[in-house]
Amino acid sequence: MSDLRELYQEVILDHGRKPRNFGPLEGANREAHGHNPLCGDKLDVHLLVKDGLVADVKFEGAGCAISVASASLMTEALIGKSEAEAKALFEKFHALITSDEDVSLEQLEELDKLAVFSGVRDYPLRVKCATLGWHTMNAALENSGETVVTE
């Protein structure tokens, strides 16, 4: 990585400071709690799933810029997606920040704004931060009711 700015891009700093879809969600029917014991980050993800579609999603909690921005951008990306699409997007996002392989233009287009997290792959210790919200969302979809722990 040539510059720290590739990790801390403006979009990430912006969503870290002013997270979107932040707060409780009235009428939520899928929820999960995520925790990263390494840094103490804690996030709750609330989903309203209607007819197999993510009608609304919000999150709450505290964490580093990477984890908060990731959860914030995730909520924007999820609204209107089917459950299957949401899970598929998680897979793609996970691959983006953990794979050693080059990211194709096509993948980046699919990920849209989420592509700003591509710099995270150079910081293995921060992958957990970027995926905490996603893992929690995934658990909420499955409605396991368990706390998701990434460490």
């Binding site: 840094c39 103490g40 804690k42 580093c64 810029a65 921060r126 931060c129």
Partner: protein, 416 residues
């Protein structure tokens, strides 16, 4: 054969010369000069320690206390000599009072499981402080679950000092042990351990001291303190990982049952009956970390070759300089402002999570700890999930502080 590692006595205090003894400090980090400010988590190792450990494997390695052959006898002698070095280093009365364990954590667990199970019963109380490391909390909680003891936690003030009146008034007829840190790893607070022990002894209560952060910073005299148990880890004392020390008064150790069973801790074994070895071997079941223990001896030799009073003054000067520079920055809050502090500074930068601080500093070649420092109750006390911690060692210099300040400026530029 000479088992000592060669040590050059520095004249006065020449930090550059000390730094030259630590090979890792000459390697770049992320292409920059390594600014290592995480010594409180684990210290770097001088060449003398690395050489001592290698020398064992290259020239005098065999299992100890077993072979009748020359090599085993030499390894045994070097191992036993390390015990004597530890005894002198903390001024214990006898080598028999020095038990080698894996680390300070195992030392606390040993006391909890051996002394604790024998001497404590349901309803008995163990006094801890709010600023204990998890290693001095969890073993007592496990004992609480097993036999129903109670934990009494003494609060700390906003500056990170023990609330003295709360401590003095915490003793009851059921108080059976005080287990407390000598220096807080998260806040740097040096506790008034001699006084803590005096008060406990006035109530007839023994004291276990977590000395992990104290031993690397200041001379410790367990007899002057009158400590009943004192634990520390070699790796924080510029020695290897995998070796720790439990000091305990001989009369206490003698009355304690074994912690683990196995070889080297027995006097005789038949299927009908086993008699245990005398102290300290009774607590050292199985083959120990032979080379690591000998290397701990080399770390002690190294420390004693230095002017420790001058080092203490140097570390204190670094602490004051860093504190002053951090205080000059309005966006920074320092956690732990006790009058008596070791060279550890926990802080927060307004609006920036410690993990982000840590990543950006890392990019600048600066290694700090970002997290809860295995002391979550301290974090809860100050209402923060985590802090950034810079901790100094004998090789730290003023350039390290300046680099930290430049790194913080970079953090603020990015998050500005």
């Amino acid at each position: 054969m000479n088992t000592e590692s060669p040590i050059i006595k520095p004249t006065g205090l020449d930090i550059a010369r000390i730094r030259a003894d630590f090979p890792i400090l000459s390697l770049p980090s992320n292409g920059k000069r390594l600014t290592f400010l995480d010594t409180a988590a684990s210290a770097q190792k001088p060449r003398q320690v690395i050489d001592a450990e290698r020398h064992v494997y290259e020239a005098e390695y065999a299992n100890i206390h077993r072979g009748v052959y020359d090599l085993s006898q030499r390894a045994t002698a070097a191992f036993d000599k390390a015990r004597t070095k530890v005894r002198k280093f903390i001024n214990a009365a006898s080598d028999r009072e020095i038990v080698f364990v894996r680390n300070a954590t195992e030392g606390v667990n040993l006391v909890a499981q051996s002394w604790g199970r024998k001497n404590l019963k349901e309803g008995d109380q163990v006094i801890l402080s709010e600023m204990e490391h998890h290693a001095n909390i969890v073993p007592w909680q496990m004992l609480r679950e097993a036999i129903g003891i109670e934990l009494v936690v003494i609060p700390i003030t906003d500056s990170g000092e023990l609330v003295w009146e709360a401590y003095e008034s915490a003793f009851t007829s059921r108080t059976k042990l005080v287990a407390m840190t000598h220096v807080s790893n998260a806040l740097g607070t040096i506790t008034p351990m001699a006084e803590i022990i005096r008060v406990a002894h006035d109530h007839g209560v023994p004291v276990l001291v977590d000395g992990c952060q104290a031993v690397p910073h200041m001379p410790v005299d367990v007899q002057a303190l009158d400590a009943d148990f004192y634990v520390f880890s070699a790796h924080k004392l510029y020695g290897p990982t995998g070796v720790g020390v439990l000091y305990a008064k001989a009369k206490i150790l003698e009355a304690m049952p074994p912690y683990q069973g196995g070889g080297d801790m027995i006097a005789s074994v038949t299927f009908a009956r086993t008699t245990y070895a005398d102290i300290p071997q009774r607590f050292e079941a199985g083959t120990p970390n032979i080379a690591g223990t000998i290397a701990l001896g080399a770390a002690i030799d190294y420390m004693e070759s230095l002017d420790r009073q001058a080092l203490l003054a140097h570390e204190h000067a670094l602490l004051e300089y860093a504190t002053e520079r951090l205080r000059a920055n309005n966006a920074i809050t320092i956690y732990g402002t006790a009058k008596d502090k070791a060279a550890v500074i926990s802080f927060a930068i307004q609006g920036v999570h410690p993990h982000d601080v840590g990543t950006i500093l890392d990019f600048e070649g600066i290694a700090v700890r970002a997290g809860h420092h295995c002391a979550q109750p301290v974090m809860d006390r100050f209402g923060v999930p985590a802090t950034t911690r810079a901790s100094f060692g004998i090789y730290s210099d003023f350039d390290d502080v300046d680099a930290l300040m430049r790194g913080i400026a970079k953090v603020q530029e990015i998050f500005g």
